[in-house]
C-alpha cells in the first residue's frame, strides 16, 4: 500500500540521515556536554496491545551558544487491539517510525530553537514543524518562553485507500520562576486548534444496532493550563508536584494532578515513587450507543468520562567511576508504572534509559 511503502522508505531515509549526522557530529565532537541516550519503553494493556519502543537521542553542543538535538525511534505494536482483531483474528502488527531534529542558538539572553518531526506508521503519517523562543530575566531566576508548532496529519481510512487530512496548530507560553534556593515553579498556558478529519477509522460504534465508523466534528479547540512545583527537601529528598486543568470545545474537561518523591540514598543512587490522578468528562456527543439520526457519534474510549490512577517507581544509578565500560557520568534510569482506569482499562509501562556523555 502507498502509505506502507512510504513509511518504509521514509524510515530508511531517516535511519541513514541520522546515522550520517551522528557519525559526523561525533567525529567533530569537542567533548563538551554531548549526550547520547539509548532508551527502551514497553507498554502492555488490558486490550492486549503490546508496544515496544526503542529510541535513541543525540544532544550535541557545537559551541556554548548553539547545539542540536536529534531523536530516532520506533513504536513496534506486537499485538493488535480488539478493533484490529475484528478483521485480523490472527493478529495484526503495526509500526511507527519517527525522527525529530531541532537546532538551538542563543542570542544574548534569548534562546531560539527550531525543529521538526516526521512520523510514519501504517495508515497514518504526520509531519510537524516547531519553533520556540525563551528569555532569561532577573539573573536567570525568571524564564519566559513561548512556542508554536504546526502539524500536518494524514490518516488513511483503512481498509480503504482514502486518505484524509488533519491540521493541528499549538501555541504555548511558559513562565518559570525560581522562588528560593530550594523552590522553583512553572506555569504554562497551552492552546491548540485541530481541524479536519478527527474520527478514529478503526473503532466502530452502534447506531441503531448497526456498527459504523464514528463521525466527529472537524474542529476542536483545546486549552490547558499547568502549574508545576519542584521543591528540594532536607536529606537529599525532592518533591515534584504538577497540576493541569484542560478543557476543549468538545466539552471534554479534565483535572490532572501528580506528585513524585525522590530520595538519594547515595550520590549515585536515587529511588523515587510517583502517583498521578486523572479525571475527565466525556465529549458532548459521546454515548455507549446511539439511536435515531445523530449528527456525531463515536466509539473512541478517549472521549468517554472516566478517571484513572498511575502509580510509578523509578531508580537512577550513576556511579562516579562510570557504569561498566561506559565513561564517567553515565547514568542508568529505570521506571515502572501501572495505569488503572475506571473503565477497567489497565496498562503496565516500563521505561529504561542509558545516558552516555561523550
Amino acid at each position: 500500500m502507498r502509505v506502507q511503502v512510504e513509511a518504509s522508505r521514509t524510515g530508511k531515509v531517516l535511519v541513514g540521515a541520522l546515522a550520517a549526522a551522528a557519525a559526523t557530529l561525533i567525529a567533530a565532537s569537542n567533548w563538551a556536554d554531548n549526550i547520547l541516550t539509548f532508551g527502551l519503553h514497553g507498554f502492555q494493556d488490558s486490550r492486549t496491545v503490546t508496544v515496544l519502543s526503542p529510541v535513541v537521542d543525540l544532544d550535541k553542543d557545537f559551541t556554548d551558544r548553539s547545539g542540536l538535538k536529534a531523536r530516532f525511534g520506533v513504536d513496534a505494536v506486537t499485538a493488535a487491539s480488539d478493533s484490529c482483531a475484528r478483521c485480523h483474528p490472527d493478529g495484526a502488527n503495526n509500526q511507527r517510525t519517527y525522527g525529530d531534529f531541532s537546532y538551538r542558538r542563543k542570542y544574548g539572553d534569548y534562546r531560539l530553537e527550531l525543529g521538526g518531526e516526521i512520523s510514519r506508521e501504517n495508515f497514518y503519517a504526520a509531519d510537524t514543524v516547531t519553533a520556540s523562543l525563551s528569555r532569561d530575566l532577573n539573573n536567570g531566576n525568571t524564564t519566559i518562553a513561548g512556542g508554536y508548532s504546526f502539524s500536518s496529519n494524514r490518516p488513511q481510512l483503512h481498509p480503504t485507500q482514502t486518505v484524509e487530512q488533519q491540521y493541528a496548530q499549538d501555541v504555548y507560553v511558559t513562565l518559570t520562576q525560581t522562588l528560593s534556593k530550594n523552590t522553583i515553579v512553572q506555569m504554562t498556558y497551552d492552546f491548540s486548534r485541530i481541524s479536519g478529519y478527527q474520527s478514529n477509522p478503526f473503532l466502530r460504534t452502534s447506531v441503531n444496532d448497526i456498527l459504523v465508523v464514528g463521525n466527529a466534528p472537524d474542529l476542536r479547540n483545546r486549552q490547558a493550563i499547568a502549574l508545576r512545583l519542584r521543591q528540594a527537601l532536607p536529606a537529599d529528598t525532592y518533591l515534584e508536584a504538577d497540576y493541569r486543568r484542560y478543557w476543549d470545545t468538545w466539552s471534554v474537561s479534565s483535572n490532572t494532578m501528580s506528585v513524585a518523591l525522590s530520595h538519594y540514598f547515595r550520590p549515585s543512587f536515587m529511588l523515587g515513587g510517583s502517583y498521578r490522578w486523572y479525571s475527565q468528562t466525556g465529549a458532548f456527543f459521546y454515548q455507549p450507543s446511539y439511536t435515531g439520526d445523530p449528527q456525531y457519534y463515536t466509539a473512541d474510549y478517549r472521549l468517554a468520562p472516566f478517571s484513572s490512577g498511575l502509580y510509578g517507581v523509578r531508580i537512577s544509578y550513576a556511579p562516579a567511576d562510570g557504569l561498566l565500560f561506559f565513561p564517567k557520568h553515565t547514568a542508568l534510569d529505570l521506571r515502572y508504572e501501572r495505569y488503572i482506569a475506571s473503565t477497567n482499562f489497565e496498562a503496565a509501562i516500563f521505561s529504561g534509559g542509558l545516558r552516555v556523555p561523550f
Partner: protein, 75 residues
C-alpha cells in the same frame, strides 16, 4: 464564560501574583539544589516525549507539559 475557563483564569491570576510577588534572586553559587535533575522541569526529554505520546493516545486531554509528539499510535 464557561466554568472551566473561569477556574483556569483564576488559577492563572493567582499563580501570576504568587510568582511576581516572590521573585527572589538566587545567585549562581546558590543553585546547587536547583541543578539536581529532580528540580529541572522536563530534565529527561526522552521520558517526557514518551509520556506525551502514550497518555494522549489513551486519554481525551493533551498539552500543558512540554511539546507534543506526532503520530497516532491509538489503534
Amino acid at each position: 464564560m464557561k466554568r472551566p475557563a473561569r477556574i483556569a483564569i483564576a488559577l492563572l491570576m493567582a499563580a501570576t501574583g504568587l510568582l511576581t510577588g516572590a521573585c527572589a534572586t538566587v545567585q549562581p553559587w546558590e543553585r546547587g539544589k536547583l541543578s539536581n535533575p529532580c528540580m529541572v522541569f522536563d530534565a529527561n526529554g526522552q521520558l517526557v516525549a514518551y509520556d506525551n505520546h502514550w497518555q494522549p493516545s489513551r486519554e481525551g486531554s493533551a498539552g500543558g507539559f512540554g511539546a507534543q509528539g506526532g503520530g497516532c499510535g491509538c489503534k
